[in-house]
């Protein structure tokens, strides 16, 4: 995640790009934390949702999930030249995991075949 700002910033303007990225990230994060703190301190510790009592902080977490989901969906619009698609990455990860799993169980193959042969009447 931390590589993307470096890749998006042209070399000759890198400093100002990175400064703006860092400043905007910090300000949004900080303001959100202060606002969330103020809102939850104004609420009672437990609130009723339907018939169920839940902690106010649990509601905040659910709201945070909604915002994170929106951010991840928006990330699909972020462009990086020369990068592969997310599907390619996930497919490669799956293939790597399968190859490693097969390699891990391969030494067990021969003893299993012997056991099967012995068990055969």
């Amino acid at each position: 995640m931390f590589c993307l700002p470096y890749r998006l910033a042209p070399a000759e303007q890198r400093t100002s790009y990175l400064a703006l990225f860092a400043a905007s990230a910090g300000l949004c994060n900080g303001l959100a934390a202060m606002t969330a703190g103020a809102v939850t301190s104004a609420l009672p510790r437990e609130v009723m949702v339907g018939q169920n009592p839940v902690f106010a902080l649990q509601l905040l977490f659910v709201f945070g999930f909604g915002l994170r989901l929106a951010a991840v969906l928006y990330a699909l619009r972020v462009v990086e030249h020369g990068s592969h698609g997310t599907r390619v990455l996930l497919a490669q990860l799956r293939d790597d995991a399968l190859t490693k799993a097969r390699a891990a169980v391969r030494p067990l193959g021969r003893p299993l075949r012997w056991a099967r042969a012995l068990a055969r009447p």
Binding site: N29, G30, A33, G37, F55, A71, V72, Y74, V78, L89
Partner: protein, 318 residues
């Protein structure tokens, strides 16, 4: 370079014992809840807005001098908290003292880190730079983990023995000592010979240039959304665990430590993935993992708190 590793270790101790379990303990001790946690969590992030003028100030006053004074102030800003439980001041006055200490420490931290990065950028030979930062990061994580666990154990033990106040006073003293160790370590490192490279002069047009670049603008919107989402719930996890789930500070510290361990264990893997596929797919894949964390945090209850361990593994891995 050994001194550079030492200051990285001591500096990370300050970060570790001013967030998470220790911050929740301060909130409990001062009977203040989420408003104080939100403010103290927000200061280091809001202070990032000072990065732009900080580069100019560092250039004017000298990198080594700003780094040394900045790290000293960052640690010693917590000195009033050492005496807080012993002097009879009202709770609101104690809360204001904590907020002022955190604010001063955050501003000094941004200045010091900007100066340190510029100083080390020229002091370190290019061929060892990657290895130095790698070893420094690992040591910093180790120091942070040990400090988090020690703070959690101290605070938990103190509840049954001496009380939370004296323990928090001890934690504040540890922050001051860590600040002094960082300063001592930096004082032993020489200034780079030759004229320092001048920081780029920031103009308003240069600063808003990314807004005219469509790819950068999209990334800025994403970053604003993502950081607002992280800030909304991320800083309140420890206080939810302590106050609502009734977990001990050592459990919170151990959970933080597990997340840290997973982060160190998987960082090289994600680095390889970025090199192979680009940063965007990795951003989306890890974003999906980070996205579900608040739901796992919300699903933990006082009767079944096991999701916190799943949350630590996913937050460290994603």
């Amino acid at each position: 370079m050994r001194q550079g590793l030492c200051d990285g270790l001591s500096n990370e101790v300050i970060t570790a014992v001013t967030t998470g379990a220790a911050l929740s303990a301060w909130a409990v001790y001062l009977a203040s809840g989420t408003l104080l946690v939100g403010a103290v969590t927000a200061f280091p992030l809001l202070a990032q807005g000072l990065q732009v003028p900080a580069a100019q100030w560092v250039d004017r006053w000298g990198r080594r001098r700003v780094a040394i004074i900045g790290f000293l102030v960052r640690g010693l800003a917590y000195l009033p908290l050492v005496f807080l439980p012993w002097v009879g001041v009202s709770l609101p006055a104690q809360r204001v003292t904590l907020i002022c200490s955190a604010l001063v420490s955050s501003i000094a931290g941004v200045l010091a880190n900007t100066a340190w990065a510029a100083w080390m950028g020229e002091a370190l030979p290019r061929r060892v730079r990657g290895r130095f930062y790698g070893v420094r990061y690992s040591l910093a994580m180790l120091g942070s983990g040990v400090a988090t666990l020690c703070a959690g154990l101290t605070l938990d033990l103190s509840k049954q023995t001496i009380g939370l106040g004296p323990a928090l006073s001890g934690v504040a003293l540890a922050i001051c000592v860590a600040g002094c160790v960082t300063t001592w370590s930096l004082l032993r490192q020489p200034e780079v010979r030759g004229a320092p490279a001048k920081a780029a002069a920031y103009s308003w047009s240069a600063l808003i240039a990314p807004l005219y670049n469509p790819a950068a603008r999209r990334y800025l919107v994403f970053q604003a959304l993502f950081n607002a989402a992280i800030g909304t719930s991320g800083g309140f996890v420890a206080i939810h665990f302590a106050l609502n789930l009734g977990l001990g500070y050592r459990v919170i510290a151990a959970q933080t430590l597990l997340g840290m361990f997973c982060r160190v264990a998987t960082s090289a893997f994600w680095g390889r993935m970025v090199d192979r596929f680009g940063a965007r797919p990795v951003l989306i894949a890890s974003g999906v993992g980070i996205c579900i964390l608040p739901l796992i945090q919300a699903s933990a209850t006082p009767a079944a708190s096991w999701p916190i361990w799943l949350e630590a593994v996913i937050s460290g891995t994603a």
